[in-house]
Symmetry: C3
Subunit: 135 residues, 3 copies
């Protein structure tokens, strides 16, 4: 259910993009409590000049390979879970396709269970929802 | 006031994209309590390989025509309103431009009234806002 | 820490885009309490027909130069701060690169401190976070 919007500069190979997509999803499954088949992502390929960043903020050494990963998720997760996910993601992307951990920026936004439709005009996440999920 | 970010694979005709835009807006007006002139959308056209999804999660049969519709809205709506909107949207997009309901994925995010500027450097949604809208 | 996603029609010069990026960042620093090195933006260049808007809603006179600025921020700001930011941004973008204030639309979304990783797999904004930031 997290929906991932990935932004990076144009020019990477299809293998690179596929590994990025695969490893992001694997990190979500491993550390973010996401079912294996719950995979929804888009990749935005930008002109290099349209990926704008400070190279050193927060003590990083960012390069032209910077990747922005913006996740929208439909249920809250604990701070510990989020921290573990960030670590898992950095480890996995460093291994394959070989993205330096300084070049991985992640922004999570949390919406509500009743704000997702996975198709057929239904609000699937309300199945089994508790009272507090419904307004 | 919902701002819609639509992502789909490149290659659809301008008529198709226009119908998608029109029917999304009509569904917002019909079922989401949106004024007819309150229309703000962007369409992202991606390489087909950059639209990534599980074909069957949540019992769907998704195809290369999958459309991601990410809405940001500035005021809360009830679960009933959201459910009605999902249904209306699926019905309308199936009729025109002919998108199968399994290929329509919607993600709503709700921000606050004071987080919108419609132009001129003003926060227009604060007009008539109640105390709880202001921090 | 705000992450800015800028959408506009393709065809502007690199100088125009650079000024837009610079002035947006300067407005964040001036009025939104953002450190000067905390700069993270992407620009999406769309087909003109994929930037969709009502020309007059909320008493504006919008043109083909419309810019959507979607900001995700990691900590709450007061309504007064947001209002000041909208004004500063409109003033700055009007001066350079010369965007009419009617053509500047801003949507802010607020996520949580533990939802950001600036690299190295860490959740940097938790440093110095208070108890209420952690779940």
């Amino acid at each position: 259910m997290p929906f991932a919007r990935i932004s990076l500069a144009r020019g990477k190979s299809r293998d690179y993009l596929r590994a990025l997509s695969d490893q992001l999803h694997a990190a979500l499954v491993e550390s973010f409590d996401v079912p294996p088949n719950d995979r929804f992502q888009v990749i935005h390929q930008h002109d290099q000049d349209d990926i704008i960043f400070d190279p050193h903020y927060m003590d990083m050494d960012r390069s032209a390979d910077l990747v922005y990963i913006a996740l929208t998720t439909g249920k809250p997760r604990s701070t510990e879970t989020k921290k573990r996910f960030f670590q898992t993601l950095a480890r996995r992307l460093e291994a394959n396709p070989g993205i330096r951990p300084d070049d991985i920026m992640v922004i999570i936004s949390t919406s509500r269970r009743d704000e997702w439709s996975f198709g057929k005009g239904l609000a699937q996440m309300l199945e089994g929802a508790t009272e507090e999920d419904i307004s």
